[in-house]
């Protein structure tokens, strides 16, 4: 029969060390919880929402859209018109698309724009949350 004092004599020290280490880790975790009291929002949801809003607005302005890769949105319109409204619409899309950075816009012939009409490429940039 092993005496309980003997059984825990050596182990007690190791148990104490392990408990102390776990305690320090728990305190550190609790500290980070207090330090960042607000919960982190879903960046993926936000991205989907922003792109959906952008493409919806671009659709009102006559653009068709498609995703290029995970973060690039390509907007195209095969109508080749040249007036003040054309540029205002393009600029409106750029302004309406929050968190999407305009990379290029091209209005012209296929030789110079890759399409006879209008083409715009926007890249999604993850916003900061506070």
């Amino acid at each position: 029969m092993i005496n309980k004092n003997q059984a825990f004599k050596q182990e007690r020290f190791y148990i104490s060390v392990i408990l102390t280490v776990i305690s320090v880790a728990f305190f550190a975790f609790a500290y980070t919880l207090y330090l960042n009291p607000k919960q982190e929002p879903s960046y993926e949801e936000k991205k989907k929402e922003d792109i959906a809003n952008c493409t919806k607005f671009a659709g009102f302005k006559g653009f068709k859209h498609r995703m290029v890769g995970r973060s690039n949105v390509e907007l195209t319109d095969d109508r080749l018109t040249l007036d003040v409204k054309t540029f205002s619409d393009a600029e409106a899309v750029m302004l309406a698309c929050s968190n999407l950075e305009p990379q290029l816009f091209c209005l012209g012939v296929e030789e110079y724009c890759g399409i006879s009409g209008k083409k715009m490429v926007l890249t999604y940039e993850e916003p900061k949350a506070y």
């Binding site: 408990l19 207090y34 929050s98």
Partner: protein, 313 residues
Amino acid sequence: MNFIERIKEKIPFFDGGNTGSGTPVKIEEKPQEKKEVVTSEKNWLGITTEKVEHLPGLIFVDFKPGSEDEVKKNAKSDIFQKVESMAWGKKGVTYRIYHVVGHPRLDDGYLYEVQQNGDGGSYIEQMLDFFKSPKNDYFWVQCAKSKWALVELKNGFIDTSITTIKPIKDDYSRVGEYSKKPNKMRPLYVDSYAFFYISVMLFFGSLISVAFASMFKYVWLDEEEKFVDNNYYQPKTYVNADLLGQIRGSYEKRPVAFRYNKSKGWHVVFEERRPGGIAVIEQRALPGKQELSAPVELEFIAEGSQGGDSNDQ
């Protein structure tokens, strides 16, 4: 059979203070009660430490034959049982288990020594050396308060008796040497639980802390961070729609593309007819300006050729 009779039986020349003829024998009491001895020694760090040597209050030695780990475990539990049965208490009880291998008079096994209020020194080495000789069947260890422990080796087993009878003169060589004990005894019971209790309290404290922090974050506050939206279309590159919308082509110079990019902003690409070919030129349309910027030639396409490399896309 009382103890003295037992001693007499085991040690033929021991007469309990009387000779066989009834004449009292004067025993020269060489082994005097030892006082505490304090020795100072420097450790490897050069720090002087004091070691207090003193006699054990009581001592018990036993032997368990067999080299298996199970035997060692049994020896440990035996130590506890013995200490409890002898009512030594927990304070100051030290023990040592020694693996005996290749001893001429003992089988391989575990020899253990338990002391009450010892100084940490062990008699096991002295005892085993002493018992190597077939003539030596018993060994004396002086204890505190004029007590003596008689450790006997008989038929491959060790037995220990505590007595107040002192060894006779002939047995002086059989007395364990007080100052030659290696300091190898270990405490049987852990007296201090402070570290353990503190660690347990810390653990529960940390659990409570995590629970409160989680409650605070996910229940009481329960608030998500807010996104701060960015708009990357900057005023310095706003479109000059009035200017661009009025651009029309001519035979010599016709617009072929209206472009925007991050670095240049809005600009127009023209094909300009020149003698010998067509020049592709670019002019920027800055916001607030009434006319395009100075032309920059991108390439020149000679007549008859399929076209040159473009410098801009």
